[in-house]
Point group: C2
Chain length 131, copies 2
């Protein structure tokens, strides 16, 4: 799939950073990673490319509670679970739940469905110590 009309070093590096991690990075985090390889890269370039890639379906912009946009290099349908205490975001694979939702909506006459599932709570670590 095409990102834009040109292949630049910056664009390539940004995509690789997003794909290489399993966390759901913010633009700032991606910027810091890319800067290790291309020190003079600008934050604006990172923002512009993340926005472009998510509009083109190369990556996902995922819902988050942190007040920052978060991205995901895995574009296969899945959900997320986030921790209110430490901001960690994990992928969630519960096909049974997705299917129950999807088929109920199809029974109601809806078509071409995309399912977005966002759980939030306290992750195992934060549930233990009452931080």
């Amino acid at each position: 799939m095409e990102i834009g009309s040109r292949r630049t070093r910056q664009r390539q590096a940004i995509l690789e950073v997003v794909r290489r991690t399993t966390c759901h990075p913010s633009a700032q985090w991606v910027y810091e990673q890319v800067r290790q390889e291309i020190p003079h890269v600008s934050l604006g370039t990172v923002y512009r490319n993340l926005e472009l890639m998510s509009r083109n379906g190369i990556i996902l912009q995922v819902p988050a509670i942190s007040g920052q946009a978060r991205y995901d290099g895995d574009v296969s349908g899945h959900g997320h679970i986030s921790c209110r205490a430490c901001d960690r975001i994990d992928d969630l694979f519960i096909e049974a739940g997705y299917e129950a939702l999807r088929s109920a909506a199809e029974d109601a006459g809806f078509r071409e469905l995309t399912v977005l599932v966002e759980l939030s709570g306290r992750c195992p670590d934060c549930a233990k110590n009452g931080s």
Copy 2:
């Protein structure tokens, strides 16, 4: 459940605004609504109270892709289904789906979970005529 140690007019108005709507309002939107009743209310007060209420479980802070924090006055698990063609938004009550998701996450060690489900597709009307 208690919000804070005092019941003020502002706090009450903010909570009512969030509970009265079915959309997931941003702080700015809540501020504009509250200002119709209390013109001199400050944005800082709205932010402080929304933050307090969501930490206390009175309302939910829901994950969003907009880069703004979004809230929800309905703390029972629920979802929405929206139509990409006509922008209609319906409530979605599929307890079986929510429970499958919730119990899977609890098995993984997460606690105090809230479940947010957003489906989008083409509603029955728009699926019929290819608008």
